[in-house]
Subunit: 240 residues, 2 copies
């Protein structure tokens, strides 16, 4: 049986199987070695994520699911970082609680599956100008519901949690701002990812997995590959 990699997060995870998305690219990359399981929930913050953990990750005793996954990406913070006095305030989670919620999510996963690699991903940077064009709810204030500065504080808190647990973290907030014109080249609406942004997440996740010996070079393939099938005796490959 192939191992699973779960992608757990908000809309940036939920939409990761759209055209050129990082989740689909991951599934394609591992097409013969790993099942990539999509568990993205648009709009969710860590407070809500915490409430659904048991349903998202069923226990091992539940036959039909519950096998220890190879890895889980935990990608929250973009919604927690909505400002408490702006139009998406209902999604806001205070910084301290966000950090505590992340700890609870990691602890839950580590307790359920001690050998599973948990990878944290920070929220991406925010382009405030663009956010004004794409409010999720009516924006009567005329001010962006998210700021890049707030996203940065949540990213820093996420990195700190990874440090406490000694687990890997992809610091998208920092990394993405290294790209020229990241506001438009990496993001498509000031928050969600363009194709270029999706590529960065894919590359970073692959790199993180590889550093933990999870790559196409180390993971077993599912059933004989066509290049390993002898044209003069094809059935031989299927005999064990």
């Amino acid at each position: 049986m192939r191992p699973n990699i779960y992608l757990f997060g908000d809309s940036i995870t939920e939409e990761s199987f759209s055209n050129g998305g990082w989740g689909a690219t991951l599934a394609h990359h591992f097409s013969r070695a790993v099942d990539v399981v999509l568990r993205g929930y648009s709009g969710y913050n860590t407070r809500w994520a915490l409430m659904v953990l048991e349903k998202v990750f069923p226990p091992e005793t539940d036959c039909g699911s519950g096998r220890a996954p190879l890895a889980v990406t935990v990608f929250f913070g973009a919604n927690d970082a909505c400002l408490p006095d702006r139009c998406s305030a209902f999604q806001h989670v205070p910084l301290d609680e966000y950090q505590q919620n992340l700890r609870s999510i990691v602890s839950f996963l580590k307790k359920r599956w001690p050998k599973t690699l948990v990878v944290l991903i920070t929220p991406p940077p925010i382009d405030e100008d663009e956010r004004l064009q794409y409010p999720f709810v009516e924006n009567t204030l005329g001010l962006p519901e998210r700021t890049n500065e707030a996203a940065g504080a949540y990213a820093k808190a996420c990195v700190a949690v990874a440090g406490e647990f000694e687990i890997p973290v992809v610091n998208l907030w920092t990394k993405m701002q290294d790209y020229p014109k990241w506001q438009k080249s990496i993001l498509r609406d000031g928050l969600h990812l363009s194709k270029g942004g999706n590529r960065i997440v894919f590359d970073e996740v692959i790199k993180t997995l590889r550093a933990k010996d999870m790559s196409l070079e180390t993971l077993p393939f599912d059933l004989p590959l066509i290049m390993d099938i002898d044209p003069s005796d094809p059935l031989k490959a299927f005999q064990n």
Copy 2:
């Protein structure tokens, strides 16, 4: 727990999670309702597929897998239809055997999971000129390893099997040739699918599932949707 849809087939299935691929698009479409499970095996014909069925579809008693899927797409024939006297002869399966193998695959699935919808997909049409540019093995004859006529015969055999079992079939061979300049617009190397070709498979599979009441309108969503969360009392949505 979300239901699964398995995609079982050859390279046209294996690569279906690449950029804009029909598998990824299906996973994106059902991102909150269904897990789309990739079981594509490049180069495989029905003879080889038959030898690996038990490994691809583990029995229900195997905890951690084996739940009855909602649906399985069975998409073979492009390799079976390689001509027996051309450069990819080792993949060839005679027409009668192909048809019998398809019957065996469908019987296996129906026996294992009587309620699962099995959807057959015929091989696509072939652009012979283009195939000469993309031989899988050295082509000393200078003749295409596949012809459109042969692919058509296998497609017809596939449609007949669907009729016998009274299960749906997507006749790609016929449907794709309705498109203008299908040779270049639908295919990318005379065999595998372009973005346009991937779109056709996605549309046809969705349509087939919908006809069997498997759509976003009928399948339950996994956990509360953001639009169903009351901004004035978000946690209410998570209380049952």
